[in-house]
Every structure is written in structure tokens, then in C-alpha cells.
């Protein structure tokens, strides 16, 4: 059995046609290292040759491995799942491994995500972010005893909270939120997304407790619906919508 692949092959190859030649990319990177220069941050520029289909992360590696070994960044999986390499790219929060060189050449500005203390170069202190995460009781609560097999859940019930299970805790949303920048107490979008994932799970019995936490002054009503979070989410989660749904649960006093 043979499938005709002629036309498809042609278009697929056309897409990759640009991949042969390397192009020039200038990276303007905000640096910070109190061991070297005290509390002042500074800018460094590096120009490298890169494959247009390389990731920004590959370009940052090239800088680190061949130009300046002191450049500090976090990364692991390099394909948008582990959530390590959230940075601000031309003013927008992105994962460095999900931005391709061809989208940003010839010049790009890379900075640490905003609203968390910078520790060195692109590395920020994630502890306040994870403290917000932990505050919403991010685990299934159900004391009704476990059946021998699985708890039943219909595909519709499962679908209800599908979107918010995609969250990888990268902090792109939370650190793009102007309220979070200005108000250290605000739990931020990611923590609400995590709460949403359980509040709308038919197996969970902890909604009341979580909604009480999020009705507090550090909770959902800080949100001013600017949609930055939704724009920033590399997983395509409708973050603002999730926050609105949690607000609605509180307002209709369902708990």
C-alpha cells in the first residue's frame, strides 16, 4: 500500500527550506550578579550565528558555552514542558525553548521575569511563587474513603477542569500580572489555576476551603482582568477565564 506523498512532501520541505543557512542574531541580555558588580544590573550584547529553527534557548546556550560561561539561566527539557526557562523576551513572558530564532532575529532582548527577586542574570527566586501555589491546598481532598477500583468520573466531568491541568508552574502568567508586580500578597494567576483544577474536579471535596482562601484579600478579587496571564501562558490555558470562574463560584456563594 502506497500513499501519494508528493505534494505533501513538497510543502513540508518548503517549510524547512530556510533551515539550511545560518543567520545572525544579536542577544541583548540583562545581567545581574552581586558577586561581580554589586546590586546594579547591566546589559550585555552578544552576536551569534544560529539556525533559524534553533530555539532561543539554543542561542542562550551558545552564548553561555562559547562566549560567556558566567551567564546564568535555568532550563531542563527544552521543549516547553518542564517550565524552567521562563524569561521576558522583547517585553513578553515566554519559555526560551518555545521561541525560535527565526521569530526574533536579527535582535532580541532577554530579561528575567518580573515581580520575583532576581538572584543572578535570568534566574529569579521562585520561592514566593511556590508559596502562593502551596497556599491554595493544591492536592485532591476527599475523606470519603477509597473504592477498590477507580472513582468514577464522566468524560464531561473530566473535561470540566481539563484546561487547568495543563499548568506547568513556569510562572509566565503570574509574573506578567501587573497586580502581582505591585502587591506582594496576591497569590497570582498560577495559584488560582491550580486551585481551579481541584475546585472543578467532581472527585474533590475541598472547594469550600479553597474558595475561602481565595475570597481573602490576597485572592481572586485582586484580579483586574487585564488578560496578560492568558497571553503569557505557554500552554494555552485560558487563565483569565479560570480566574473568572473561581470568582463566580465565590460570588454565587456556592460554598
Amino acid at each position: 500500500m502506497a500513499t501519494d506523498v508528493g505534494d505533501v512532501l513538497e510543502t513540508s520541505e518548503q517549510r524547512r527550506a530556510g533551515a539550511t543557512g545560518k543567520i545572525s542574531l544579536t542577544l541583548r541580555i540583562r545581567r545581574y550578579n552581586p558577586e561581580v558588580r554589586g546590586e546594579e544590573s547591566w546589559w550585555d550584547e552578544f552576536t551569534i550565528q544560529a539556525d533559524p529553527n534553533d530555539r532561543l534557548l539554543d542561542a542562550l546556550h551558545q552564548v553561555k558555552w562559547y562566549h560567556d560561561g558566567t551567564l546564568a539561566l535555568r532550563r531542563s527539557c527544552a521543549h516547553g514542558i518542564c517550565g524552567s526557562d521562563a524569561v521576558m523576551v522583547n517585553g513578553r513572558n515566554r519559555l526560551a525553548c518555545k521561541v525560535l530564532v527565526r521569530e526574533i532575529a536579527p535582535k532580541v532582548t532577554v530579561e528575567p521575569i518580573r515581580g520575583l527577586p532576581v538572584l543572578k542574570d535570568l534566574i529569579v527566586d521562585m520561592e514566593p511563587f511556590f508559596a502562593g501555589y502551596r497556599s491554595v491546598l493544591p492536592y485532591l481532598i476527599n475523606d470519603e474513603g477509597e473504592p477498590d477500583g477507580e472513582r468514577l468520573q464522566s468524560p464531561e466531568e473530566r473535561h470540566r477542569y481539563d484546561d487547568t491541568t495543563k499548568c506547568i508552574l513556569c510562572a509566565c502568567c503570574t509574573t506578567s500580572c501587573p497586580i502581582f508586580w505591585g502587591d506582594e500578597g496576591y497569590v497570582g494567576p498560577a495559584a488560582i489555576v491550580q486551585a481551579h483544577r481541584f475546585i472543578f474536579d467532581s472527585r474533590d471535596r475541598g472547594a469550600r476551603e479553597r474558595l475561602q482562601i481565595l475570597a481573602d484579600k490576597t485572592g481572586v478579587f485582586r484580579c483586574r482582568t487585564t488578560f496578560n496571564c492568558t497571553d503569557a501562558c505557554p500552554r494555552g490555558i485560558e487563565v483569565t477565564r479560570a480566574i473568572q470562574e473561581v470568582k463566580r463560584e465565590i460570588l454565587f456563594d456556592r460554598f
Binding site: 502506497a2 550578579n33 477507580e150
Partner: protein, 579 residues
């Protein structure tokens, strides 16, 4: 400065195996989890397709059928009692994850849905069976999140961004603790403990094209190898057939489980020739070799004729969007290809180490042909070798391995800690780590770690990948010798103590070399083809001489000594592997 801590148990690594062990141990004894990453960054999160258990929710199925497939898929190098145990405990392990909130996809009647996966069959090979439980194509992500959530609930003590760099042993050969480097400060920490469980994951970064994260550098394996623990079955490394062309990013086998097919440049569904019964759902080693053969015979696709196509154009839109959303997005983002209309270029990618730290079914590290336990030392997950994957792991069995053996290891370790006393620390316990780091930091001129790593990855990809030969492996051994010499002169630019990731990358490169050396030595010695280890010069499986596990020991001069131990059979008679 060195900081000292005392715990009953230390768990190294916070992926699926480490977290599952932590849940077990932290409820029982004073436990610290040390991880070089924030736990949710661990590579378990990137597993996509599913986790198998014979729940029988969709089709008739039994753990024994699952065990048979695991043994056959592993080309009979699997320890059969352990495989059966894993497949029997799978059912409970899956229900446990569900009870902890894992959002499995559901059948219309609300039970856990199941789908097909490579090498998983009904009744000993009759036809593919729906056995893989899944959460869209982010099953690993959901397992990692769920286990981490349970750790948060239990307030487990984590030391994040701490790199464990050495294993401490007492004079009488017991585990005494570990030495770790704190990335934020550059300080060393000595963790005194009765027991240590390694769950440090894989080592795929020794290959140029890999699905593995940058951080998968075989740390736990190397640390123990340097301390005289053998590495088992290192020659068996899985090359997953469907990696994103050139980048190696995994495109789940679930794509083929849902009906995706492979095509060569002529548009032929070539797997029909190699595995007439299960076709595209043959085990990964067979599919990768078939791709290699198609390319070798000139039917490779793409501008360089070194890829084949993955075709999902015929799948219903809702299957692509609902069941394979991430995989679809990878093709769009990284290849600029629209899989609903276009073909996706793929090539085999280094994916999974079947070999590693030898353990028994309770996670205890064992050495020698008699499998003698080392008191207090444990391992689980990809860094370990039970061996339930033999010469070739079946898809989904890695996620199963981490939950089943993470739990068993954690449980046994907790019991051990309740009985054992705390061994004395050796004198200047952090000494060898301190000396290694100081030497690297002091060196002003020398070799660039990135250059050495690139050479390692390219040569391993050329000479120790899907197809191997005596000549190629000997050449690789020589190359490794040269790389080792250059590594002894490795230099770092960053002399600081704050987030010195350059220094840690250099250390990790040393770990990679420690994984590559026993791999190549064991591959060179094994003059047969079995599972993922294919020797072009010895294309037959040779049960008379090679139905045995390899154990590679590091000699004081750095060379590798090999010995062997028997495979545990007794349930299934080794037979020719046909699909």
C-alpha cells in the same frame, strides 16, 4: 564552608520514582529529598502516551498477558518474576494515582480509559490490546504533578537545586550519606543518613539526538560507579523511533496507538514488511531498526534522505485535538508542520537507558553475580536496573516502573531505617568533592566543556546508536580515552559561588563520560544482537552465550571490567521474537 545535616533517609532526585519513594518514606522516617531541579521540572513530566496496567476497562486483559509482552518486548533479557510482579502491582498503583486525583481520560461509563501501545498485545501476541491508561498526551506531566501534590500535602522536606555529587560509605561498607552542592551559594552539604535512594533518571545527553532533558546526565549512576558499584546492562539503550527530526523531541508512540502510521519517501507503509501482525505498533527497537534500514536502502525522506514520515492526516480531528494536543503542538512549533494536513519528519532519538544501577525488587542496590545487597543503598526508576525492561523497554512501562518500584523501594527503605543505626561518617566526608571542584575552579587554561560534550554526543550518535559494529565501538573507546584526557583539563570561566551553572555542567559532563565508558565496553563485548543492542557484525540473538546480564565495574585506572549474572527465567521459555 560545609553544612551538616542528619536524616534517616535521603532520596536523590524528585521525578516520579523519587517522589513516589518520598511519599512512602516521609510518612515513616525522617526523610530529605535532594533534587538538582525544582521537583516539577523533572523529566517524568515529559512522558506522554500512557501507563499500562491490565485493568481490562475497555478490552479483556490480564496482568499475565502484560508480563508476557514485557518479557518478549525485552527480548528475554527481562528478569521474569520481577516483570510479573510489576504487572500485577500495576493495577493497584494506577488506582492509587487515581485516588490521589490523577485526571485520567475516561470511558463513557466513567472508568479509566485505555488505548493501544507498542508491543502490548492480547493473549501472548494475538493482536494489539488497549492497556495504556492515559491523561491526553501528558500522562507523565499528570503523574509528576499528582505525586508532587501528595508531597506538598505531607509537607515533605525538599532541598531543591542541590546537586548530589558523592556517595558516602562507612568503613564496613554501609551507606553513610551523601555530599551535595548548593547551587544558590556554592556551599557543600553533608547529609548523614542510614539509607539513600537514588532516583536520578536517565543519561540520554550522551547522544547528539535525544528526547532527554539537558539535565539527564546519569548522575546517580556515575556517583555509584565511581564508588565501585557495577552498572548493569548498560549496552541496552532505547532509541525511540519517533523523535522530531534533528531535535530529538519525543513524539509519543500514542500517535501510532491512535492510528498514526510511518511512511518512507515512496509513501510506503514500510512497517507492514517488518512486523506484519502489529505493523507500526511493533516494539521500539524493531521500528527504529526498520527506519534505519529504510534510510540505508535509499528510501529515507527529507532533503538529506535521513528521515521518515509520521502520518496522522487520516485521523479524526477530535482524536488529534483531544488525545494528542501536545504532540501536535510540537510539530507546529518546532517543525512548522501542520500535522492535520502535512507529514511530520521524524528520526530515532536516544530515549531510555534500560541499564543502570542493579537492584532487586525492593529497590536495594545489589552487586556481583550473586546480587548481594549493599546495606542502606537503594535505587529506583530509570537510573536503576531491576531488570524489568531487559534489552528493550515497552512503551508505558517506564511510568509503571517508577510508581511500582518507587513505592517498593521507599517502603523497604523506611523499614530499613527503622531497624538500622546511623553509620559513622568517614573523615573529611566532603573531601573528594571539594578537591574536584577546587581543581576545576583553579584551572585557568584548558578544555571547553561544551566542546568535549559535543564531541561525545556526535561520536556516540555515529558509533553507538541504533546500529553498532566491532570496529565502530573500538573506535568509540579510543575516542572516549581522548575525551577523558581533555576532560581532566576542563576549565570554567565562572569562578563564583552563586548559581555557578557552568561549574555544574562541567561536573555533569564527567558523569556522562562515566556512563558512556561502561556502555561502550559492554556493547563491544556483547557479540550478539538483542533488543536495542544491534550488532551489524553479529545480527543473531545468541541465547547459548549471551542470555545473561552484564555488570560493568570501574577499575582504579578508569578501565572497565565486565562480569555477568544469569537472567531470572522460569515463566516463559525464550523464543524468537516475531510480531
Amino acid at each position: 564552608m560545609t553544612t551538616f545535616h542528619t536524616y534517616d533517609a535521603v532520596i536523590v532526585g524528585a521525578g516520579g520514582a523519587g517522589l513516589r519513594a518520598a511519599i512512602e518514606a516521609a510518612d515513616a522516617v525522617r526523610t530529605a529529598v535532594i533534587s538538582k531541579l525544582y521537583p516539577t521540572r523533572s523529566h517524568t513530566g515529559t512522558a506522554q502516551g500512557g501507563v499500562c496496567a491490565a485493568l481490562g476497562n475497555v478490552e479483556e486483559d490480564y496482568p499475565e498477558w502484560h508480563a508476557f509482552d514485557t518479557v518478549k518486548g525485552g527480548d528475554y533479557l527481562v528478569d521474569q518474576p520481577e516483570a510479573l510482579l510489576m504487572c500485577e502491582e500495576a493495577i493497584d498503583a494506577i488506582y492509587e494515582l487515581e485516588h490521589w486525583g490523577l485526571p485520567f481520560n475516561r470511558t463513557p461509563d466513567g472508568r479509566i480509559d485505555q488505548r493501544r501501545f507498542g508491543g502490548h498485545t492480547r493473549n501472548h501476541g494475538e493482536a494489539p490490546v488497549k492497556r495504556a491508561c492515559y491523561a491526553a498526551d501528558r500522562t507523565g506531566h499528570m503523574i509528576l504533578q499528582t505525586l508532587y501534590q501528595q508531597c506538598v500535602k505531607r509537607d515533605v522536606r525538599f532541598f531543591n537545586e542541590f546537586y548530589v555529587l558523592d556517595q558516602l560509605m562507612s568503613d564496613d561498607g554501609r551507606c553513610a550519606g551523601v555530599v551535595a552542592y548548593e547551587l544558590a551559594t556554592g556551599e557543600l552539604h553533608v547529609f548523614r543518613a542510614k539509607a539513600v535512594l537514588y532516583a536520578t533518571g536517565g543519561s540520554g545527553r550522551m547522544f547528539k539526538v535525544t528526547s532527554n532533558a539537558h539535565t539527564l546526565t546519569g548522575d546517580g549512576q556515575a556517583i555509584l560507579y565511581r564508588r565501585g558499584i557495577p552498572m548493569q546492562d548498560m549496552e541496552f539503550f532505547q532509541f525511540h523511533p519517533t523523535g522530531v527530526y534533528k531535535m530529538g523531541i519525543l513524539l509519543s508512540e500514542a500517535v501510532r496507538g491512535e492510528g498514526g502510521i510511518l511512511l518512507n519517501a515512496e509513501g510506503e507503509r514500510f512497517m507492514e514488511r517488518y512486523a506484519p501482525t502489529v505493523k507500526d505498533l511493533a516494539p521500539r527497537d524493531m521500528v527504529s531498526r526498520a527506519i534505519y534500514q529504510e534510510i540505508k536502502e535509499g528510501r529515507g525522506a527529507g532533503p538529506n534522505k535521513d528521515a521518515v514520515w509520521l502520518d496522522v492526516r487520516h485521523l479524526p480531528r477530535e482524536v488529534i485535538e483531544e488525545k494528542l494536543p501536545d504532540v501536535t503542538e510540537f510539530a507546529r512549533v518546532y517543525l512548522g508542520v501542520e500535522p492535520t494536513r502535512e507529514l511530520v519528519p521524524i528520526q530515532p532519538t536516544a530515549h531510555y537507558a534500560m541499564g543502570g544501577i542493579p537492584t532487586d525488587a525492593d529497590g536495594r542496590v545489589v552487586t556481583g553475580p550473586e546480587a548481594t545487597p549493599v546495606p542502606g543503598l537503594y535505587a529506583a526508576g530509570e537510573c536503576a536496573c531491576v531488570s524489568v525492561h531487559g534489552a528493550n523497554r515497552l512503551g508505558t512501562n517506564s511510568l509503571l516502573d517508577i510508581v511500582v518500584f518507587g513505592r517498593r523501594g521507599g517502603r523497604h527503605l523506611a523499614g530499613f531505617c527503622r531497624e538500622a543505626d546511623l553509620p559513622p561518617l568517614p573523615e573529611r566526608p566532603e573531601g573528594s568533592v571539594r578537591d574536584m571542584l577546587d581543581a576545576m575552579l583553579a584551572r585557568e587554561r584548558g578544555a571547553n566543556a561544551a566542546d568535549i560534550r559535543t564531541d561525545l554526543q556526535e561520536h556516540m550518535f555515529d558509533l553507538a546508536f541504533v546500529v553498532r559494529t566491532d570496529e565502530g565501538l573500538r573506535k568509540m573507546q579510543e575516542i572516549l580515552g581522548g575525551l577523558r584526557e581533555r576532560y581532566d583539563e576542563v576549565v570554567v570561566q565562572d569562578k563564583g559561588s552563586r548559581y555557578n551553572t557552568e561549574l555544574m555542567e562541567a561536573v555533569e559532563l564527567g558523569f556522562l563520560l562515566d556512563n558512556a565508558e561502561p556502555l561502550v565496553a559492554a556493547a563491544l563485548a556483547r557479540t550478539e544482537s538483542r533488543g536495542a543492542h544491534w550488532r551489524d557484525d553479529y545480527p543473531q540473538r545468541d541465547d547459548a552465550n549471551w542470555l545473561k546480564h552484564s555488570l560493568a565495574y570501574r577499575q582504579p585506572d578508569g578501565s572497565v571490567r565486565l562480569e555477568y549474572k544469569p537472567v531470572k527465567l522460569g515463566i516463559y521459555e525464550p523464543a524468537e521474537r516475531k510480531y
